[in-house]
């Protein structure tokens, strides 16, 4: 059994080195009026790992992701990021601290081309001032080239060269999901959040997406947090899994540990009440 709790990190079964704690969620409670979406949940995310959050519908997974990305603010608990307690931040501020995300029901800029969409991921890497940018002069020129190079690399990596000039609105669902991943990657995030990256995909598209998530993690060492329903996918992809049910955490550990957890089995398969 792996010792996944050591402060220095651990080595996975396939030999990848996982680092120390990147982000720690401490006793997070999130309420919407009288409804408790997340109840006193704590877990950590380590550098370089693929961390999954699973659970039945309405378990609070997406709410958790929204807490991490700053779209929701928990009433209780704290988020420790890179060793510091994170103050209450707006979503765009969180994004600027190196946390990129995708959405369950795809949020792309439909009117823009694929390339432009991915370029927006690099907006806050651009430092040249308005005049320089408008006149294509000085720092702006250099920056634009650097950013374009990075974006082209990601386009290559995710195999979407053939659609780079296509307006996003015209793409099929599976490709849109991939473009969204590309935009998130373009920000060179410290932590990448994926909200059901494989929802609504066919088997082939799912396999592709799995491969991309693993390749991204391998190639760039990107720490990834993902929500997924497909248990097979989760077990294959992730290093550690948090299991949620009705806003509570009912399991946390490696896929094997979670798979054998009584409570998890109950939540997923249901249990006879007598």
């Amino acid at each position: 059994m792996l010792d996944t709790q050591s402060d220095e990190g651990y080595v996975t079964a396939d030999g990848r080195k996982i680092g120390g704690v990147a982000m720690e969620m401490k006793n997070i409670t999130l309420r919407f009026g009288g409804v408790i979406a997340i109840k006193d949940i704590s877990f950590d995310i380590r550098w370089g790992e693929v961390r999954a959050i699973i659970g039945p519908n309405g378990a609070g997974k997406s709410s958790m992701l929204n807490v991490i990305s700053g779209f929701y603010h928990p009433q209780e608990g704290e988020v420790i990021y890179k060793g510091y307690r994170r103050p209450k931040m707006r979503p765009y501020q969180v994004a600027r601290t190196g946390i990129a995300r995708t959405f369950q029901n795809i949020a792309l800029f439909e009117g823009m081309s694929v390339l432009d969409n991915i370029m927006t991921g690099r907006l806050h890497h651009m430092k040249a001032n308005l005049l320089q940018q408008a006149l294509w002069w000085g720092k702006a020129n250099r920056e634009e080239q650097e950013n374009r190079e990075k974006v082209e690399k990601i386009i290559d990596f995710l195999e979407i060269q053939h659609i780079r000039k296509t307006p996003v609105a015209r793409l099929p669902y599976g490709l849109k999901k991939r473009v969204e991943l590309a935009r998130a990657l373009a920000a060179e995030p410290s932590i990448l959040l994926l909200d059901e990256p494989m929802a609504g995909m066919n088997v082939e598209e799912k396999e592709d997406m799995c491969r991309f998530i693993l390749d991204v993690n391998d190639e760039f060492g990107t720490t990834t947090v993902l929500i997924e329903h497909d248990m097979g996918v989760v077990m294959d992809l992730s290093d550690r899994v948090v299991v949620m049910d009705y806003g509570r955490k009912i399991g946390d550990g490696t896929p094997e540990e979670v798979r054998n957890n009584e409570e998890v089995i109950k939540a997923y398969l249901g249990v006879a009440h007598d």
Binding site: A100, F103, G111, L123, H124, Q133, A134, R183
Partner: protein
Amino acid sequence: MPDNLLFAMEATLNGLTAGVMYALVALGFVLIFKASGIFNFAQGVLALFAALTLVGFQSGQIPFAHLINVIFGTRIHHFGWNMPTVLAIPATVLVMILLAILVERFILKHLVNQEPIILFMATIGLAYFLEGVGDIMWGAEVKALDVGLPKGMSGAVDDMTFAWFGYGFYIDRLELWAAGIAAILVASLTIFSQYTKQGRALRAVADDHQAALSVGISLRFIWVLTWSIAGIVALVAGIMWGSKSGVQFSLSLIALKALPVLILGGFTSIPGAIVGGLIIGVGEKLFDFYMQPIIGGATENWFAYMLALVFLLFRPQGLFGERIIERV
């Protein structure tokens, strides 16, 4: 060359320059519509307010003088100095930016994620509010606006056309200037929206708020930016229309003339606003020229709207607008 053709050519030229004036107003609408999906009913009043403020600054009027006099029984009205135009214009720009900040702070911020129709209603409210504030602040009388732009017949055009055709065209110099200024304005707006980080962010916000947030764009900043730009465009329109026909409250009605321009050009296209304006300008003048003997004058009052109706029938997205495709 037959006289009739010469007159038609002159009418066309006049139509082009008048069209530019319409396009100037339409531009402000397009900007806000592109960036926030809001049809800003207050754009015309924004132009009026900008022009009023500019005249007020120039003539050293004390804002809210009437109100102050009523409350405190004083009899103030002017500071007693005239602000040079080079100072008054930047000062007005600052006021428009301040206004943008206030609009974001007190209106838009509270209406995030609301239906476009609700935002539209809010801009109707803003229009009436601004009209009232403009009145209290600067008074309701018609004011002359002079920023040093030349007026009257352009001698150069007259001479040139006389040399060519033996008949001098009458073109207003102010409208020639307006055309030049509109060209500069459109060029800089296009460069801004296509090549700068802020421009890209602006287009992103127009498309999807959530996605924009997730890539680190501040909605509030972008909204203030958009409304500031719309305010500055309104100032330009206000200066042009104000110089032409005086700064008066009917100025806010030029917004109505911008509507057909927008329907023709498409709500989302900056070049569309220009071309739409030109088509309406030329169409109006030529229609008047050819139809006047048959159906009488004053066709300019309704021609633009009729043209817009025809467009709505056959090409509802306008000439340059995004095609509306409903996927099921």
